[in-house]
């Protein structure tokens, strides 16, 4: 009996450390294109607000509700037809849309737009937007901004008042404690809300396309997206991805993870251990131990799902659908379902039990 118990314990430990992957989420993907209501197939970003799904496309801001699409364009007051980023103010229901021509506020059908000419916005190309309390944080092609919705004050962050070597900010993730900026060519910027101080995280290898020491720091200077959740920073670059817990870094590359590509457009943390990676070669999910990739096979174009365990073994899962395109630009969650923005369509991943 004693031997049996010991064997069982050993098996349990082995399973935790090296075992077969736990069941990774499976989805049936329903895809939307211009053929079924999207204003454009190039979907830069998306946002789920309960039953409503917003899609930022190259030709307007579309909202899917009650099985129908409605599109807002410049005639409705949208700053520009190309919508690059979206954020929801959960307290008010206001949707903020970063476009190639300014920042738009969408509230119950009314759209007010802020541009570099009519407001304190630093630049009209708005790559990222994030809402924290009464502040809207913005990432633009000329630095970051904070718009206080109560006072109307704009505060600009650039090379003059932050350690930002480049001012091409690509993404922002704001919380009550910390705000992180993804800076294209200048690493990650961190703003401490309590102290009002900025800090900077760079690739220890500088601009060299090498990694001398694994997990030494941020994987690359060209940071495209940040996601700060549960005290963990997830950072995406065009040369791999990083996770930072405040003390140590962990990096993800195709060679030592389940990433389908090091070229990551967007990253979204679910919690401290789980994250989604939107790459140019498919959508990847990491549950802290195992990886799953959802895409169309690079070989034959057929829907494909792979799972990778901690031992590096990749298994193929029988699937009949995949995201609309492998060039993935964004993701958001609707209960157990996912919605995926791609370069050629929008996908609804319906969770399969």
């Amino acid at each position: 009996m004693k031997r049996l118990v010991i064997s069982a314990l050993l098996m349990a430990v082995a399973t935790c450390a090296f075992g077969t992957p736990t069941a990774m989420p499976r989805y049936h993907f329903e895809n939307f294109t211009t053929a079924n209501g999207l204003p454009h197939n190039h979907v830069f970003t998306l946002l789920v607000d309960k039953e409503r799904v917003w899609a930022g496309t190259e030709n307007g801001l579309a909202v899917y509700e009650n099985h129908a699409w409605k599109t807002y364009g410049t005639a409705d007051g949208l700053a520009h037809r190309a919508v690059l980023s979206l954020a929801l103010d959960k307290r008010t229901g206001v949707v903020w849309a970063g476009t190639m021509g300014g920042l738009s506020r969408v509230s119950a059908g009314r759209i007010d737009s802020f541009t570099q000419l009519n407001s304190g916005l630093s630049n009209d190309v708005v790559y990222g937007v994030s809402v924290e309390g009464e502040n809207v944080w913005v990432a633009t092609a000329a630095g970051g901004c904070r718009f206080n919705t109560r006072t109307g004050q704009w505060t600009l962050y650039n090379e003059r008042n932050t350690p930002m070597a480049e001012i091409w900010t690509y993404g922002v993730s704001a919380t009550a404690g910390k705000v992180y900026y993804a800076v294209w060519g200048s690493g990650v910027l961190e703003y401490d809300q309590k102290t009002g101080r900025w800090d900077k995280y760079d690739d220890p290898d500088g601009e060299n396309e090498i990694v001398l020491f694994k997990d030494q720091g941020l994987i690359h200077e060209i940071v495209t997206s940040v996601s700060y959740v549960d005290g963990i920073l997830w950072a995406a670059t065009y040369f791999g991805d990083s996770r930072y817990d405040g003390r140590t870094w962990h990096n993800f590359l195709t060679k030592d993870s389940g990433l389908p590509s090091n070229f990551t457009n967007f990253i979204k943390g679910v919690d401290a251990n789980r994250a989604w990676f939107c790459t140019d070669r498919g959508l990847a999910y990491f549950d802290g131990v195992n990886w799953a990739v959802y895409r169309n096979s690079p070989l034959d174009g057929k829907p494909e799902m792979t799972e990778r365990g901690p031992d590096g073994k990749v298994t193929y899962v029988d699937v009949t659908s995949a995201p609309a395109h492998n060039y993935v630009l964004g993701i958001d969650f609707q209960g157990n379902d996912i919605w995926v923005a791609t370069a050629k369509g929008l996908s609804h991943g319906i969770h399969q039990p």
């Binding site: 410049t74 005639a75 409705d76 007051g77 307290r91 008010t92 229901g93 206001v94 506020r105 509230s107 119950a108 059908g109 009314r110 759209i111 007010d112 737009s113 570099q116 000419l117 009519n118 407001s119 304190g120 630093s122 009464e134 000329a142 919705t149 109560r150 006072t151 109307g152 004050q153 704009w154 505060t155 600009l156 650039n158 003059r160 008042n161």
Partner: protein, 640 residues
């Protein structure tokens, strides 16, 4: 009891009954409210005047609550005797009030000190005073007792408060100048209006010639989220909303300025239309209906009430000093029998307006008894409350509140400012364009300069004393000239003021104070950004070290406490439709509130003054500034 005694008592009772009957049947009886305590000392602009703004009946109908603006108080009256039970001191310049869902509390918004007074309706004592947003103007409680909604006029939003603690949960985006809130009968929705038009969503070839657009903001009370915005096209200035008891008919009182045509058309009724927007299940698509009629205008509709049986709509008119009575059945028949729009048709209202009841000066809030038989009307500028018998459609009593024995010149001036009786056919008054003595956010074509020429943005009246000359071209040397002959000829097109009235009106206008500046810190302190902006405002050299010519420095023209040297300059903003390039230097008083900017309103924001309209650096040297620095300059200007 002896027979003679019985006869005596019977005679006395009969005599008393006769007196009462005469009182009831008399056209109008002034009842002096008996104060049960000393009157509250006024802290407002006009000393000693109660200035009743809104009225509210207690749920049991036994008390009439009167919001008295200038005396910073709420007076509680017995609805039978009209005796004042208590006068409750609240914050400065209260503007709106409403009960909690149980009626145990009365909430009062104090518009000038940004607070909310909470009154226990059992003890009639203020039990809490909560800080709220900028210029709170109206409050309404939800039916669950969890939340309060407060409309903030300056921040253009609606604050969602915890009803127990006053803690703010969220700010909901409302229309510009968010001011009046109403819950529908089942409390599921909150409806909000606003007094200044929303900024145009986009530019057009007309630039500053966009018709004003407003909205009714609809809030889901359970979710505390905005779920709909009912568009009000060509409307600038929306006031109270009322619902029928079944919730199927909503009515909003509003102004419909006709600012895209020259004011030469006053003779044709083309200055303002006074209208209602009808909405709700009875209506379907919202529809606008006029209240004016040929040669008889119903200027500045403000308060609205609908009879419990949905037979009548009552609307107070602050300018015409009347209450309009609309027959709902006739109204419905008219709008269903005729294809709209009706708003240009001055004959339309004859189909559904059944009475125009004269009341006191500047009538504002209205309250209808639960049986619908009496309508109370707050007459702000003669310190009375009219009591209207709705079966007779006439005023049967007038409750007199605190008021000095003699109307002061200042008060007379204010009465003159708010009445519409001086203009041709009583179409409009000063307060049409200067809502609550401020501005209207609208651009006008004033024909003295020629039709289609010299389009001008309306300027703020706050603290304009000693900023003469007036008009954008500096053509009027003083207020009596601005408000006397010029107004008579070009605006009113009618008999105008005698000398004393003009003097009093000028006195009032010169006395309009500046609203508290919400961007300015205490003790003349500045935030870092404001301080950097102040330095930029005062600089004498540009960023390249080149001296800025004296006349091109900000403080040269915008000098002194009010930010004007009272001279005219060409700042490079002349349009093809402008007759001249020289423009009067406007004062900077509360400039953060007065968008759009420049003489013709072509700059939608402060930023656009310099990012769009200062290419040649004639409006100050600014093109060397970085975006950060321009933002700092604007942060400083907001403190003026």
């Amino acid at each position: 009891m002896s027979r003679s005694a019985q006869v005596g008592i019977s005679t006395a009772i009969a005599a008393l009954c006769a007196v009462l009957l005469m009182a009831i049947l008399s056209k109008s009886t002034v009842v002096r409210a008996a104060l049960s305590e000393p009157s509250v000392q006024s802290k407002g602009n006009v000393a000693g005047f109660a200035s009743p703004l809104e009225v509210l009946l207690s749920p049991d109908g036994g008390r009439l609550y009167v919001l008295c603006q200038e005396s910073d108080s709420v007076k509680v009256l017995n609805t039978r005797s009209f005796a004042v039970i208590k006068s409750i001191a609240v914050g400065h310049l209260p503007r709106g009030f409403s009960f909690s869902h149980t009626g145990d509390r009365l909430y009062v918004t104090n518009s000038w000190d940004d607070s909310l007074s909470v009154i226990d309706t059992h003890t009639l004592a203020v039990v809490a005073n909560w800080p709220v947003g900028a210029e709170p103007s109206s409050v309404v409680a939800d039916n669950s007792g969890k939340r309060l909604y407060v409309a903030n006029r300056i921040s253009n939003d609606i604050a969602v408060l915890n009803a127990e603690t006053g803690d703010e949960e969220a700010r909901l985006l409302a229309g510009r100048g968010s001011s009046y809130l109403t819950a529908n009968p089942d409390g599921s929705r909150i409806y909000a209006t606003h007094v200044y038009p929303n900024p145009p969503a986009r530019r057009s070839g007309l630039d500053n010639r966009m018709p004003p657009e407003s909205e009714i903001t609809v809030i889901d009370a359970a979710k505390a989220k905005v779920i709909e915005r009912i568009p009000l096209h060509r409307i600038a200035g929306v006031f109270h909303i009322a619902f029928s008891s079944d919730g199927r008919l909503g009515v909003a009182a509003q102004l419909h300025p006709k600012n895209l045509v020259p004011l030469a058309h006053v003779e044709h009724g083309w200055a303002f239309e006074d209208t209602l927007t009808l909405f709700g299940a009875d209506i379907g698509t919202p529809i606008e209906v006029p209240l004016d009629e040929m040669e008889r205008y119903a200027s500045r509709p403000f308060g609205v009430a609908i009879a419990p049986d949905k037979s009548r709509i009552y609307i107070s008119h602050g300018g015409s000093e009347i209450v309009t009575v609309v027959d709902v059945a006739k109204l419905m028949h008219f709008i269903h029998a005729h294809a709209g729009p009706f708003v240009q048709d001055l004959s339309a209202s004859a189909n559904f307006v059944i009475a125009r009841i004269p009341v006191g000066r500047n009538p504002y809030g209205v309250a209808l008894t639960r049986d619908g038989r009496r309508l109370f009307v707050a007459n702000r500028l003669d310190d009375t409350v009219s009591v209207i018998d709705t079966r007779l459609n006439r005023e049967v009593s007038k409750i007199k509140l605190d008021s000095p024995a003699k109307v002061s010149p200042l008060r007379h001036g204010e009465q003159t400012f708010y009445t519409s009786k001086y203009s041709f056919q009583g179409q409009f008054g000063c307060a049409n364009c200067h809502i609550d003595s401020t501005f209207d956010g609208v651009q006008w074509d004033l024909e003295p300069d020629g039709f289609g020429r010299d389009i001008v943005d309306n300027r703020l009246l706050e603290d304009i004393r000693d900023t003469e000359p007036y008009k954008w071209n500096g053509g009027n040397p003083d207020i009596p000239t601005e408000c006397g002959p010029r107004t008579e000829k070009y605006f009113w097109r009618s008999q105008t003021y005698d000398n004393l009235t003009l003097a009093d009106l000028s006195l009032y206008i010169r006395s309009i104070p500046q609203r508290p500046n919400r961007w300015r810190l205490a003790h003349r302190q500045f935030t870092d950004s404001q301080d950097r902006g102040r330095v930029i405002f005062s600089r004498t050299t540009d960023k390249f070290g080149t001296a800025i010519p004296e006349q091109n420095r900000c403080p040269y023209c915008h000098s002194g406490a009010k930010g004007t040297n009272q001279k005219s300059f060409d700042v490079g903003t002349r349009k093809a439709t402008d007759n001249g390039a020289l423009l009067d230097t406007p004062q900077l008083t509360n400039i953060a509130l007065t968008a759009p900017y420049l003489h013709d309103g072509s700059a939608r924001t402060l930023e656009e003054i310099w990012t769009v309209y200062n290419a040649a650096d004639k409006h100050g040297r600014t093109n060397d500034l970085s975006k950060d620095e321009l933002n700092d300059l604007i942060e400083y200007l907001r403190t003026r």
